[in-house]
Symmetry: C2
Subunit: 426 residues, 2 copies
């Protein structure tokens, strides 16, 4: 092979990053399970028809072109999944006896054959948590509470903006705006481009000065729920307000203080029907949104057809933004799995016995392999980020002592096995 | 959609099975990390050229046809990875400054567009652990020791057969057999088809009675290393014996008693060059082989070309066989993530507060969502395998007591929150 390359738009996750990624994923999994969600695995390969059905059901068809399409040897038309929601809908459809609510989480690769920009890949991971089969606001509150608990585990002081699409629809209706989707996409940018920017966008989309002023009479970063209660008059808007009140009352009972009402939050995607939420780090944020989601009561039912109504609410965690944030805050716990490297000097049997004692004590331990000499092995430990080294010579074996070297300070101490285990177990 | 189906040869892993699968994977990951192996993630999409290069390097080209092949929008020729070894070789090639030995593990989906038999899928998981860049038998011994430790974690009383391909080659050479691969494939079946079966196969492949007798003078289930030492005369055979002795001496120092010498073990695949090993459950086995691997000193170097020699040794764990074995032995720990379902009876705020207290105490807890009534919710808990239910009525709230129902016995007890937490935390 002359040119060894990755496929365009893909990448390797090097060991130290993968260690952090595993830590992020498993921390989140534990929280999902603490909240009673069950894991589900669906295949990466799906029938093309299954994947394309989402778009027939109304979503923008640009994404249809981004499906990686392929055939099997039986010439069947297949594709690689582009999200974890379509496979969830298919699973629900194929398992009619599933007990509702069905609370599931899923983690894994999804694929989109789209344009490649900085930080955008054609193969990436998603992590979705959804409660399917109930319209109760308890489900929405529980997902918000779970999100708060998850970021607490990472020591990230996040806030969760909460809004309801029915409220936004109500506001737009009162402002006399018919084509709500375009307006919602503009309003969603309030945070980034400010009132002026949103005004410009709304003007460009042909809304009148009066309409725009009407929208901004409802929407600002400081708008409270009680202010809106006095102003919103449409049925849909009122329903949205009531749902929000219910969610916030549940969150209060659950002692979740991270959730805040934000009337400008829309969450770009078109398929949300009620509650929407987004977790973000208010200060020093590397990434604006760390997790986001909402209620989508029509998507699964539309997908299945036959007039079935299957309400659902879910959230997606951004594994990459969370990793980047933890790295930026210096919270990447370990760069190496091994906590100590044992270097034998003519003491292979004794070193192997020691190795196993340390491992049995639960201390991740590595042994120098090959006859490279001490300095080369110290270099090896250092480049892998292994924090301690044990140099075991015949002298130490005789004395029943262990020479422990702290790689950071370079300090070497002669210790008993018991002390070494205590020190490394910290 | 009329017919909602999975792609042929794929399947869903339902929540209770996925829970077990996660448990198997994370138990193994912890052991790999205890042994100082680092995780590596490589993409599922690779350039077709990268995948096909393995076959140019000499492996049977039947498998080449089983690559799922596809194009991206730039008309690039891509494929889905069919194993985790080729991506490892590519990663080593693309990272020339990688410190050796490179100890890595990898877990994930691989794809093969092959014929579908019972229990064979076109998308399945592999779990590989490899030490790259050293020919030292310490690496082989460490992987065998790690395998023993892994199955101890599962309480599976396995044995690990160990052999060396050089020994087999030496025996065949002394028996005057030139085309060793065919003979090795036949000998590998000794366990399953016995001496008679292997004899028949060797005859069919055209070996003489004398040759076959010569082979069996070396090979039986009871052959010991010291017996072979007296009989083997070829250089390659002697080298293999010496390597085996070295591996077993290291295993002795590491106090690994599960490893046993078995001269008939060959491990079908052609690319092994030295040590081969296989973990199996001697009694009441559901699956014969639970993990297997060996040394392959030529594969990565051949793959990279340019005359590079990159020795390597690795093992692959069979996630499915391990899951099946644990299930058959009744060792599937839990079928539900939630340990308790809280059913509020006009006590939503108090139930939500209780829910969070239990979750904060680390007890996976679910709440009944929707207005289904107690009996429907008991049915829900029972069908999901949730072992306990709390029915929280106004009476209990007043008394500051909790009614805990054991779903197995049906027994209900009125307890304090503290006692409930103690009982559920077990």
């Amino acid at each position: 092979m002359n040119q060894i390359q990755l496929a365009k738009g893909t990448r390797d996750i090097a060991p130290s990053d993968k260690l952090l990624k595993n830590q992020v994923v498993s921390t989140l999994q534990k929280i999902f399970e603490l909240y009673g969600f069950m894991p589900l695995e669906t295949p990466i390969l799906e029938r093309y028809e299954t994947l394309a059905a989402k778009f027939a059901a109304g979503e923008a068809s640009d994404a249809l072109k981004e499906i990686f399409r392929l055939n099997d040897q039986g010439d069947r038309d297949l594709g690689l999944r582009f999200d974890l929601t379509v496979p969830l809908a298919r699973y629900v459809a194929m398992n009619p006896t599933l007990k509702m609510p069905f609370k599931r989480y899923a983690v894994g690769e999804v694929f989109r054959d789209g344009p490649i920009k900085l930080g955008r890949y054609r193969e990436f991971w998603q992590m979705d948590i959804d409660t399917v089969g109930t319209g109760s606001m308890l489900a929405d509150a529980e997902i918000i509470a779970m999100t708060a608990a998850a970021f607490q585990k990472f020591n990230l002081n996040i806030k969760i903006k909460v809004n309801n699409r029915k409220v936004l629809n109500g506001i737009l209706e009162q402002a006399g705006i018919q084509e709500k989707e375009q307006a919602i996409i503009a309003i969603d940018k309030l945070d980034k481009i400010g009132v002026e920017g949103v005004t410009t966008e709304l003007k460009e989309r042909g809304y009148s000065k009066q309409q725009i002023e009407s929208v901004f009479s409802f929407i600002s970063a400081k708008t409270t729920l009680s202010q809106l209660q006095k102003k919103i008059t449409t049925a849909e808007g009122k329903e949205g307000l009531q749902e929000l009140e219910e969610v916030f009352s549940y969150l209060k009972s659950m002692k979740i203080s991270q959730a805040i009402f934000d009337v400008s939050l829309a969450r770009g995607l078109a398929y949300y029907t009620g509650t929407v939420f987004e977790a973000y780090l208010p200060k020093g944020a590397v990434a604006s949104s760390l997790a986001g989601g909402g209620r989508y009561d029509n998507l699964i039912g539309n997908y299945l057809g036959g007039g079935r109504i299957i309400p659902a609410v879910g959230i997606s965690f951004g594994i990459e933004p969370i990793m980047d944030t933890l790295k930026a805050l210096g919270q990447q716990e370990q760069k190496s799995t091994a906590k100590v490297l044992v270097i034998p000097i003519n003491t292979i049997p004794e070193s192997l016995a020691l190795l196993q004692e340390l491992r049995t004590a639960g201390i991740p331990t590595d042994i120098a392999i090959g006859k490279k000499g001490v300095s080369k092995n110290l270099e090896y430990a250092s480049s892998l980020g292994i924090p301690y080294v044990i140099i075991l010579g015949e002298q130490e074996v005789k004395k029943k002592k262990i020479l422990l070297r702290d790689m950071k300070s370079g300090m070497e101490t002669l210790l008993s096995l018991k002390t070494v285990i205590q020190r490394l177990a910290d």
